[in-house]
Symmetry: C2
Subunit: 249 residues, 2 copies
């Protein structure tokens, strides 16, 4: 598929020892991927890194220069192992401060719930100087934005709430037209013919995603492109290719 | 926690546009994380990259120098969009060949199933010259090993079968001792006390993993260390900390 230079791109950085140890399965990356795809932002990389400042800094520093938007998840809670705010401050070489707006939000939130605003809870107001806030309608403690980096929570319900708050602020694009067709054969059966179709339709991207259903391989063929007519033309060729193969088998 | 220089480390590279678009949820990274953790190999990074040669080459080239083992998933099937073998050959600057052992395996496999050995199926014998093979007991087409890079399938049942074949060949270490305790409070309640416990037990790593159960936060506290006695001592302090807090609430 030819490039779409105007399409915004994104990368995600998942901060989490618990994902890397297999203890927890990440759900935020898949959710982000779906939501971005729906608004025409191309998620181009996901990195899962450990809870280590240097690793977070390295990933942020590299990826923020390559993409329109960066999203991080995890490490902004109240415990000693929540070090994402420190890492983002270091990546941007900005001082880490207790944000006065975040203090106001959390003071009011804990007062309403008649809970003490402990030093641990106060950790959740720490962010690089000059950051923007991301609203958290689930549990108040805000995420934050520095430049193109959106720093969000790891708990899925909170991550999703923060993403709801962020999405309307992003530059979006016309989502690609995407058509999918199920192939009732393994890829080995249609691979040669599909390569021919792909060669005849360079203006779209044609992917094949195999599954093993326990007994045999089947696949889904996915056609993606900016122009509906091009996608439809390629789909027509894929469909007649599959019909021809069904006739032969 | 102090370093364990002898512990092997690993990184995973998931090759898949379908993961980045949200169409498919990756299951292989979580599976790999669990299996490596159980044999004392520390998974230190997961990267999901698109089906683009330059992106795969960049990730392989960077990560293989940092870790004992690299595992890739995806992009070794029979269709035109399966480009992982090409990328690995380029990363190692080796010629891409049709491996004679792989040809033998697949010729026999398709002959038994009375299927033609098409050019598409023959694509699955392509690998860098000098690669070792990874057995695939599910669907025959082998994965391959170049230096410390293990190139495996994206279909989960095949990925898992290949990992079964690879694991006994890896240098393992004593798995860490890991103890987990459920905290019936949010992190804000115990964060300060837990930071104190962590400071008193620098020889272990103490992580806190919050969940929002729909109504309130709870958490799991996980203690990891090489020495069982150290882990037990830290756990005793975490337990009495939680009991004290329960008495106060």
């Amino acid at each position: 598929m030819t490039d779409q230079p105007s399409q915004p791109t994104a990368a995600m950085i998942v901060i989490g020892d618990e994902i890397l140890s297999g203890r927890t399965k990440d759900r935020n990356a898949g959710h982000l991927a779906e939501r971005l795809d729906a608004v025409g932002i191309a998620l181009r990389e996901i990195r899962v890194v450990p809870d280590e400042t240097s690793k977070i800094v390295e990933a942020v520093d590299h990826l923020r220069r390559l993409h329109t938007y960066i999203f991080t998840s995890g490490g902004i809670g109240p415990t000693h192992d929540d070090i994402t705010a420190d890492a983002i401050a270091r990546a941007f070489e900005r001082p880490l401060i207790e944000d006065p707006r975040a203090i106001d939000i959390l003071e009011a939130y804990y007062a309403r719930r008649e809970l003490p605003f402990t030093p641990a809870r106060r950790r959740m107001t720490r962010m690089p100087e000059g950051a923007g806030l991301i609203e958290n309608r689930v549990s108040a403690a805000p995420g934050f934005i520095v430049d193109n980096v959106h720093v969000m929570a790891g708990v899925p319900s909170v991550f999703e709430a923060m993403l709801d708050a962020v999405l309307p602020t992003l530059k979006t694009a016309q989502p690609l037209t995407i058509k999918t067709i199920a192939a009732d054969f393994g890829e080995g059966t249609f691979g040669d013919a599909l390569a021919g179709v792909a060669e005849n339709h360079p203006e779209v991207s044609i992917g094949s995603y195999p599954r093993h259903d326990g007994k045999r391989y089947v696949a889904e063929i996915v056609i993606r492109g900016r122009d509906q007519g091009n996608v439809d033309a390629a789909m027509a060729d894929v469909r007649s290719m599959l019909e021809n193969l069904a006739g032969v088998e």
